[in-house]
Amino acid sequence: MPDPGTLADRARTNGGGTEAGGEDGQPSLSDRLAPLGVAGGAVARVGGEVAGAGRKVAGEVLGRAGRRIGRALSADLDDRDPDYIRENLPLAWLLSTLWFRAEVRNMGNVPENGPVLLVGNHTGGNMAPEVIVLPLSFSTYFGVERPFYQLAHNLVLTSPVGPLLRRYGTMAASHKHAERALASGAAVLVFPGGDWEVHRPTWERNRIDFAGRKGFIKLALSQDVPIVPVVTIGGQETALFLSRGGWLAKLTRADKLLRLKVLPISIALPWIVNVGDLLGHIPLPAKITIEVLPSIDLREQFGPEPDPDEVYRYVTGLMQDALDGLAAERRFPVIG
């Protein structure tokens, strides 16, 4: 942007040149243009101020957005608000009971006290039903007083619902955040499969697919906490998931810009063809069944230095067996 001061000065200088008047007594051209010069100077000043203000506003907006994203992705354990969770239990209960006809089995397998890492398979795209059903079940079973945190994708926390989710105890997925929560004695829920698993095609609905991610094992070992596997079925029937769209994520550079390895394609309400699922969708009222498996103490079961590959195979194997059992009980898609 040109310097407004310079322009105004230039206009004043031009006008100033006319002050001496013309030799014939008639106002010279420069005299006649003098008011224009003054006006131009004023316009330039205003323009400069507007430009300055624009720069300031843009700076503020960017700064605010940056601060908001930074805050959304930080992990302040105090953001979890038990009273807020309690007041919103009825909404979660209504959705869970009436829409998903959810059934949660063996919540008693979660140790009564102390830190614990709940490891779940992720289902249902960006409107994952277990994200509603499981925290509801945990909160009604153990009380909202027991600290419970969930790790979620950055994009979820920077979305408009991010501030609400933070009050539920949702934090940006990071090893550091999970460690902090576990160190405070809380229960933490992670979905190692993340966006890869949650957007798997509907015909792979009965498959546990963590894509080889073993971070949860490292986390449990570093904090010396038990793992409680949690298996969900039904979420992949809330829409017809066609493809993860990994190729689309690469093509649109969403993998680099938004940390999205997938850009899923599905048939879902109300969009019919839903690409990306960034705005979510209306999930079909598929019956959701969640089974909480017995707690696993890794060092007790695998020795003082467990092999992560062996633990990974064991945990995913257990979860796959449980999922197969739940799938065998299911007679019809959606209806359950």
Partner: protein, 163 residues
């Protein structure tokens, strides 16, 4: 939201009271209750605390409750300490002819949950009412069975004494 169910049991208030005041029996007759554990040293009476859960819709709901009224053979009331707000009351009154009117009251809700909470309370009501009815039926059956067993034992004992 408050629910209220009652029944007539062919037994004395004392027999019913002894049955309901013992927390060890609760899971045998309370329908939908999945957990009823004594918390602390005191098993029964005023101030006794229990951790309880009841299946309502898709969730097991409950928390820590405390006995806040314990008037022998008449009233026993509890109130929640943690978890979803709830109050309950057993009310026993003689109905004549060796029978007792047993009333079970249950009030619940989530303070501050607004219209959604109001809606959820009403949606949950049929299921909870059904649990209360079934609980009373099961209590009646078990207590009357116990009375028959005791009467039979007493008859046998008197017969044995006369022989």
């Amino acid at each position: 939201m408050r629910l209220n169910e009652s029944t007539i049991v062919s037994a004395s208030p004392k027999l019913i009271w002894d049955y309901i005041a013992d927390p060890g029996n609760t899971l045998h007759y309370m329908s939908g209750v999945t957990r009823w554990e004594v918390v602390g040293e005191q098993r029964s009476g005023l101030g006794a605390r229990y951790r309880m859960l009841i299946q309502v819709g898709s969730a097991e709901v409950g928390g820590l409750i405390e006995i806040v009224e314990f008037s022998e053979e008449r009233d026993m009331a509890w109130s929640s300490v943690t978890g979803v707000d709830q109050r309950g009351r057993w009310r026993l009154r003689e109905a004549g002819g060796g029978r007792t009117r047993v009333e079970l009251r249950f009030a619940y809700g989530v303070a501050g949950s607004g219209i959604i909470g109001y809606l959820a309370e009403h949606v949950a009501a049929p299921s909870l009412r059904s649990h209360l009815r079934r609980s009373l039926q099961q209590l009646k059956r078990q207590v009357e069975h116990e009375k028959l067993r005791r009467d039979a034992a007493a008859r046998q004992a008197s017969r044995a004494a006369t022989v």
